[in-house]
Each structure stands twice: as structure tokens, then as C-alpha cells.
Amino acid sequence: MTRRVRLIVFAAAAAAVGVLLVVTVVGMPPFGNAFHPYRDVAVAAAIAHQTANVVSGVNYDLRAFDTLGEETILLGSVVGAAVLLRPGREERERTEVPEDEPPLQAVRLVGYLLLPVTLVLGLDVVAHGHLTPGGGFQGGVVLGTGLHLLYLAGGFRALERLRAVPPFEVGEAVGTAAFVAVGIAGLAVTGSFLANVLPLGTFGSMPSSGIVPLLNVAVGMEVASGVILLLAHFLDQALRVERR
């Protein structure tokens, strides 16, 4: 299609789909109404399992199987990115990366100061996922990106010295496998995959809500490793791989 024809066809089809969307949305229940059948039962179920953060209760207990699928999507995407970014036949990896210009003093100072703070924050978000907003996914992203303050403050070499790739490949796989393993433990103990097998503890205290914190740690490990690997593959492709 020429650009003009494409635009005309697109506009016509988009208008028709727009009409469909408008009539669909107009027929939906009004915003902010009290009709929330799932909320009504999910909050009660999460509290019954001593989970203070109900969102985590939904994600890691009631609908934990979805979360396993989502975690696996991330695993598949990171492995897929590794495959697509691997050096091709006409490319090769340099062993030495040229030293880049040192960053500004202020960036170095703030980067090195914030690095430990960010990592602790990430761990905190993962560890308290069943109590306060956050959890494995969010904390994992904080951990994975936080580590790259090292890249901003110290450059690629500083990052490489502290971040070897293989341990994170293991971490990513172990994090995903741990989720499945917790599921199988539920199967073995109660006869139901991903059913709770741990004491529920007291509401609001650190050891509470059964397997939820365990699954949060598994996901946090996988997400942090995945983000680090993803960035490592892209950084390698940009800085290290060159045409033969």
C-alpha cells in the first residue's frame, strides 16, 4: 500500500473500531461504583491468610499461578534477548573495552552514596512485600537498576568488576525454579499446587502470610537477575561487540 492508501484504510478501520470501543465503554458500569465482587471476597481471603498487603495476597496466593506465568514470561524474554543480542558470525567480542571519560565528580559522589542505599531499599521492598506496597517484582527492578549506579559513577569497568554475568544467570533460573518448587511442595503436602505449606503467623508481623514472602523472594531474585542480565546484554552489544 502507498502511504496515502494506508492512511485512508487505517483511518476508516480505526473509526469503526473507535465506534466499537465507545459503545462498549459506554455500556460498562460507571467509574467509582460499589460493584466489586472480587474485591469483596479477595480482601477477606487475604486477611484470613494473615496477608496485610492484599495486592500481594492476590498476586502470590490467590492467583499465584498467574504470577508464575508472568515470571516465566520475564525469563523467556531475557533469554530471548540474550539470543537475539549474541554476537553474529560477522561480529566478535572485544576483550578490552576502552576506558570512557570519567564522569563528573558530583555524579560519582551521588552514585557511590546512593548505591548501597538503593540496594538496601530494593531488599527492603522485596522482604516486606507481604506487609507494605511492593514485592518481588518491584524490589527486583529496584535492585537490578540500582546496581547500575555503579556504571554511572564508575564506568563500565567498575560495573564489570562487581557484576560477573554467570552468577546472575544462575540466579535467574534458580528464582524461577524456586517458584515452581514451592508449588510442588504445596502439591506434596496438601495435594494442591501452590497451596500454602507454611504457618500463617500473625497479621502484620514479619513472619506472616505463609508462602507469600517466600514467593516474593523467589520473584525478587529472578527479576533482579533478569534486569541485570538484560542490561548486561545490551551494554555488551553496545560497548563490546564490533564488526569483524
Binding site: 476508516a12 469503526a16 473500531v17 498467574d66 533460573a173 508449588g183 500454602n196
Partner: protein
Amino acid sequence: MALSVPVAVLAPLAIGAPILGACLLLTVGRRVPRRLVDGTAVAVAALVLALDVLLLVRSAGDPAGHLATWIGGWGPGSPALGIALVADPFAAGAAVIAAALTVAALVYTWHYLDSAEAHFHALLLLFLAGMTGFVLSGDLFDMFVFFELMGAVAYALTGFRVEEPTSVQGALAFGVVNSFGAYVTLTGIGVLYAQTGQLGLAPLAVALQGRPPGAVVVGGFVLVVTGFCVKAALVPFHFWLDDAHAVAPTPVCVLFSGIMVELGLYGVFRVTTVVFGPVLPHADLQRTFLVLGTLTALLGAVLCFLQRHLKRLLAYSTIAHVGLFTIAFGTLDPAGTAGAALYVAGHAATKSALFLVAGSILDRYGSVDEIDLHGAGRRARVLPWLMLLGGFALAGLPPFGSGLGKAVSEEAVAEAGAPWAPALFVLVSAVTGAAVLRAACRIYFGLGSRPDKDTAPLDTKGSEEAEVKGLLKRVPATMLGPLVVLLAGGLVLGVLPGVPQAFAEAADHFLDRAGYLASAFGTAAAPAAPSPASGWTTSGVVLGLVSSALAALLALAALYRDRLPGPSAVGRRIGDAVVARLRGLHSGHIGDYITWLLVGVALLGALVGLPLLAG
């Protein structure tokens, strides 16, 4: 003993085992010898196959035909808190096909040059997990999650050969178009959830039943099935398919054409029968599927015949056959559903075998272009005959399973009110079979006049890089073995006496909405009334022979076109213009593909919505 294992164990393990296998390969894959990686991956896929077969046996042997388990024990209830996995013979059967093809693909991969440190094997196992999760899931959002898992892995597998720019391009088109479809589906899920507060298929069905077929239901249906239609490559959602098949590694093509595309149809018809069937008028749904299926079958057949790039040729043949499956499933009656499922199973065996033939041709002769390879395979002993057999099986030759599926389907569709359907089925299967026969005759027997090499448009040519280091001297057993087993499987399916009966029962269960709901909610349901099974009939055998003969004639006509009286100048010019226009639509431009996707959504909305407005 094994038969008493409950579904609560089998279903989650069939999804969890390949994930664990992939994790294991990712952890140790680069440190162990290649053969161990191959062996581990095959063992895990075989384990999944065994679990799926047990599920199939259990669900087929169950009087209600459905076995449900709620993950974590969170259900049933109103509203349901958790996620149900539901196995009926169709879901388990689709999982069996997926696992069996994964085993075949992994055995074929034994000789595959570059596994990217076992990443290829890990991705194939994750792909299997996605497909298994998708079919077993009894929850709309969970289906979406596994649909996305299938997608994310499939894009990477498509672009696996990173050396070639076309490979990355094909993967990109696939990724963008499929992701867009998936977002439309997600929007539809949001619409239904806002309306009902439910995500489970069974609870959703209960919440929607008895409602008037208003805008929200129509919108929800159209949006939800859009993503599945993209995966199923229904016209005009199909544009990504041939680009992806042309560049994806051979074992990946086997899984794409053999089962992934058909899983799109599974999604469409699972939500149609369980959730929307009682709400939307059947006549409107049947008409919608008949229109989409016919368009898909005709366009796929024409473009298949025009190709000289073997993998694209097979890809378009998949589109053509998906069109036929859609017509048969679209009857929404037991006979059509049983026929379509048989056809899907037979096609999976045949088409996978043909893709393996194409892969071995690529690795043996360094090209998949039937014109460039004219006579290149004259000295081959076994493969020529296997490829001819595959071509005839595709055309519906009795007693192949694909022929049986075609026979049962065409009869059912004709009885459901489209008396012209057998003609369409014969024509489309004959044309796609003819394309394969023509290519086999050119490559292996050197038949036909050698057309001028450079007359064909660039996009139909088949210049691909071999997938092994250096060209093979002979085709190894690990490549030939899966091919022979698959073709034989396709044959057994059509010959085994109990098959039509088993598929008829499975179709009854698939359409038994009350049984599905009862098993999900843990209540007792009366078993569905059994429908009569239909197997080989005289007319079915005759039509199968007719389409095979027609395929042979068409192939010969294409080979010796220059000796035939040509059409008149005007006719030729019109024909050329139409062909050029059709080809031009498949431009590789992602903007075009997205535009057509929107056209498709509008078309679906019109087909389902307008009759309701008028009525």
C-alpha cells in the same frame, strides 16, 4: 497405578516440568556437553508428553469428560478466588500434540549447528510450557498470561538466526502484530472483568448468561478473540505468518505450523463455546466464522500455489488449512467440531513432516527455492517419496488422518447449511497439495521445464542460509526419524478404527458447556448426549481421491505450463494484475499489517454486531 494420579497433580506438573527443565538447562547448559543438553531437553519434553497422555486418557475416560482443579485450593466459589485448570479431551489432546511435536523438534535439533549455549533448548521448553498452560487454563486472564509466554518466546525463536537481517525483520513483524493483538485481547478481558468481576471462564459464563447480547458483550467478544485470531492467522490478521515461517529455524516452524497457529483457534472456540455461546446468537457466530474461514482458505491457497520459497509455500498452506478448520469448527455442532479436530491432528503430523523435509532440503542443498533447486535432489533415495506422500496427505488422500479430517469436516459443513463447502474443501486442499507435489517433482525428479530463474518476484524466492555448518552429505537419522514417525502418525490416525468415535466423544465434551461449568464448580452434571461418530464414508473417500487427483493434475499443469494452451491476453493480464495486487498487500511493512489488523477487528465487529442492531 499411573492412571489414578489426580488431575491436580498432572496438570500443574505438565506446565511446571518444562519450566524446571528450562531452568536446569540455563543453569548448567554451558558447562555440559552438547549431547547432554539435547538428551535432557528431549527427556523433559517426553515427560511432559507422558503427563499429557495420562491427562488425555483420564479425561476421555471420565463420564463427564472434564477434569478440573483449582490451583492452591482457591475455588470454586462465587466469585471464584483463584485459577482453575480444566482438562477435557480437546485441551489434553492439544497438549499431547504440542509435546509430541516438541519432542520431534528437539530430536531434529540434535544436528542443529548453534544452540546458543543451550538457550535454544531452554526456549523450546518454555514455549512448550506456554502452550500447555494456554490449553489447560480455565481462566481468561491466565490464558492471556500463557498466550504472552508463547508469544515472547516465539519472537525470539523466530529471530534466532541473528546473522540474517530478514530473520530479525520477520521476528519484528511477528512480535509487533502479535503483541498488538494481545493488547486488544487484554482490553477485552478488562471490559468483561469490569462488567462481571470475574476472570474464570466458568464463573464468567455464569455471570454473562441470560444477559441480552448488548454492546458490552459484543465488544468483549470481538476484543477478546482478536488476539487469538492473530495467532490463528485468519485473514486479515494473517500477515505476520509467512514472514515468520520463512526465517524461523526448521524445528520452530514445526511447532508454529503444527500447533501454535491452531491454538489460536482453540482459544477462539473455547471462549465461544463456554462464555459467549449462550449469549450471542449462534447464527451470527456461524456466519462470522464461515466468512472469515472462507476468505482465509481461498487467499492462503492462492498465495501458497504462487510461492517457490518452500517454507513460505508451506506457511501459506497452513493459512489455507486454518481457514478450513475455522469453517468446520464454526459450525459449532458436534460433527463439524469432531471433523475439525481430526483435521487439525492430521494436519499437524503432515505439515510438521513437510517442514522437516524443507529443513533437510535446506541443509542438504543450501536453498529452499524450488526453481533454483530444479533437479538438485535427483540422487536422493527416500526423501522424494516421503515428500510426495506428504503432498498427497495434504491434499487429503485416504487413508491419511488429514484426509479423514477433511472428509468428516466437509460433510458436516455441508449438512450445517453450506452445501458448496465440499467443493471448497476439495479445491483448497488440492491446490495446497499440488504446490507441494510440484516442488517435489522439480527438486527431486527434475520434472518440468526449467523456468527462467529471474522472472519471479523477489519475495517468493527462497534464498536462505543452511542451518548446519557446511552442507550435509546425507540426511542423518535424527532428521529422518522424526519425519518418518510424523508421517506414519498421520497415517495411523486415519486408519485406526476407534479414532472417529474418540474424536466424536471429545467434540461432544468440548461443546458440553454445562459439563464444563459443572466440573469447574465441582457439581455433578448429566453426561452429554452422545452424537453419532462419522468416519470414512464412500463420498468422503471419493472426494479425497478427487482432491488428490486434482492436486496431481494441477502440479503437472504447473510443471508443463509452457506446453499448455495459454489463457487469452486479456485473461492473463487480469490474472497477473490480481496476483500482483495480492502480493503487494504482503509488503512486509508493519504499518500495513497493523492497518489490516484494525480492518479485521472492524470486520469482526460488523459481522457479529450489525445483525444484532438490525434484529
